[in-house]
Symmetry: C2
Subunit: 393 residues, 2 copies
């Protein structure tokens, strides 16, 4: 075999749908010496991690931990533990990740009904209530921040309706957590999952999850084993709980990285972190408006951390994204599914959400759009963004 | 919440059942800048990773890749993709990881029969042939290097018998890969999985797997979807194959780490790597013999990379392991299951398998066993180990 050269990873500015930029402190933490997964030091790191995860999820749930896989593994953990074969399930779909919930729920043996909204829109509580009355599900699953559409789904009222209907709620907060308020206890969510590589600013590889006591009780009472051994919460509880019984070898260094990224989030404070995401979103939005670029998401429901915008007519998708990457080192996300070729997804998540990135992106886009013959007032984008920053002070 | 201090991970010498010591080059590679999972640079890294994995597995299988989870996720990937509900499965059990295969196979809906051997022993081809004739399974699963017992299971003849019986073989090489010869193509194995944190010397978090073309054909023809979305090879094939269709966000920095650890293994060369594992095993073994410590594994089947040895009578398990960790920074493994309190598991895997570690462990053990009143000739252990190293030159 030809000799393979050492890695020499380029330095990107990650403004796609994740992974987001990683703070140097997180990369340094990840490279700390590996210890054993039952080492007293590591058990302390796990305790601290759980306590910080409870803070960002705003929950007291004992069963709060990190699944040893990426966000999709957390999603599957929520689905296969909560849904028992034959149970009625209601899934709300308005993008890729709602579809994935549906697919997983079927594989878990659920009797699954879906309700749908066009891409970019969110669900009203009324239509969920109607479906609850019609389907009488045991489990409802919904996505809070649809990464494929940039739509911010309000959860409070829907969660209350689910509770009133005596169902349990699975909530996808992969792109939400750390970017917008997630209120697991206030909303009484039963199972929630997230990813590390979005607003927490950690490399991908772990999935924070939390299960309510009520959910854990349901899981422990299941007559049939959870179909996944790897994701079985009834066994994971013995490793992440006080017993520390070996289940599988935890991804030690990824845990270090998540530990440091949570420290960074909590140092800033959750409210300040949300405000920063909001401020940079407003600046980007003002700049994009000056370039004649519009949002693809239902008005009033745009996620600050994931800006799904329509590619202006006459502008080519792939050449612009390619040039952003090759000439400016900037990654933005392509549209998925029905948004393919029509939408760009601009992430301002975690450590990526900062003024320098907003200005750099607007400067680069201005150059590339001009080259594509797109018409706009030169310099107006940067000025508009700067105005937001000035007025925010 | 009380402020949580930055990580300050202790430097251990990892001589347990994994994770093993991590070469500084691997930790440095893991801390390289995160790029996107569809970045052209990352796609090249994936190509290189696949090509190196094929070399260490000694296979040409196209479907060779890393599952985004730890070794147990690789195990589950092999099981849930290969076993269709209702199919007859034969599982060979002689320790914890055979039991785990059995558990997973049942969860996958297999009609599972087990054959068993006492802990520490290995299977003869004759008894497997007898079971094949009796059970007529579609799938057979067996562990090559039982991490719980240190037993080295010969595979060649058993693989041929499985093939003769027109069944497919799932092979566990979690602790085997990189430490002893694994011959996926020669043995015509259909599904194999491993972990990164054993003889590959990489932190835990990924699971190298490989599926034969025959296996992939079976998976693609399944009438019912694989029960796990996250581990579904029919979808993973589109991301790891030439299409590069997004499935889930890969653990970028873990991939960097595995890339560098495979580079290190292949720089040394597989045969040299196996010889090093063998040499350090023989030195450890000679030293342990001088301390009056015996192997718990069937004679002639001791794994060089995992030395399962009986705790001498009169010596207490926990205090010795605790003192090894606290006073010498050395981790060794406890016994599991029927070996609990009776056996120590001493790993010499990957970068942990080196002369300095063998001598350090023997020196520390000598001190601690003397304190426990165990009788032996002082200095003889180190001398015996050194003799092995001298004669190997």
């Amino acid at each position: 075999m030809a000799t393979i050269a050492p890695l020499n990873a380029p330095i990107r500015t990650l403004l796609g749908p994740g992974p987001s930029d990683i703070h140097p402190r997180v990369l340094a933490a990840m490279a700390q010496p590996t210890v054993g997964h039952l080492d007293p030091y590591y058990l302390r790191v796990m305790d601290e991690l759980q306590s910080m995860l409870r803070e960002v999820f705003r929950t007291k749930n004992r069963m709060t931990m990190a699944i040893s896989g990426t966000g999709s593994a957390g999603q599957e953990a929520a689905v296969v533990n909560m849904i028992e074969p034959g149970e009625r399930v209601l899934v709300c779909i308005n993008g890729v990740f709602g579809n994935r919930l549906f697919d997983m729920a079927e594989r878990a043996g659920g009797e699954v009904t879906k309700i749908e909204r066009p891409w970019g829109e969110v669900f009203e509580v009324g239509e969920v209530k109607e479906a609850l009355a019609r389907v009488k599900p045991k489990i409802v699953a919904i996505v809070m921040a649809e990464t494929s559409t940039g739509a911010w789904q309000p959860i409070g009222e829907i969660a209350a309706a689910v509770r009133d209907a005596e169902a349990m709620l699975i909530l996808d907060t992969v792109t939400a957590l750390g970017g917008i308020p997630v209120e697991i206890d206030n909303w009484q969510v039963d199972a929630v999952y997230s990813g590390t590589q979005k607003c927490l600013g950690c490399p991908p590889g772990l999935a924070p999850v939390s299960f309510s006591d009520r959910a854990v009780e349901k899981i422990l009472k299941r007559p049939k084993k959870v179909q996944s051994w790897y994701l079985d919460v009834s066994m994971l509880a013995n490793y992440w709980g006080s017993d520390r019984v070996y289940h599988h070898t935890a991804p030690i260094n990824m845990t270090y990285a998540l530990h440091e990224s949570l420290r960074i989030v909590l140092e800033e404070g959750l409210e300040a972190c949300f405000a920063r995401h909001r401020r940079n979103h407003l600046a980007l939005r003002a700049g994009l408006a000056a370039l004649g670029i519009e949002y693809a998401t239902q008005a009033g429901h745009e996620l600050p951390q994931l800006n799904a915008v329509r590619i202006p007519s006459g502008v080519e998708d792939v050449p612009v994204r390619k040039a952003l990457l090759e000439r400016f080192g900037i990654e933005i996300g392509a549209g998925l599914g029905v948004f393919k070729g029509k939408v760009w997804r601009i992430g301002l998540m975690g450590y990526s959400s900062r003024q320098t990135n907003v200005l750099l992106l607007l400067a680069a886009l201005e150059q590339l759009l001009a080259e594509q013959g797109h018409k706009f007032e030169h310099g107006a984008a940067i000025a508009a963004a700067n105005q937001v920053y000035s007025s925010a002070k």
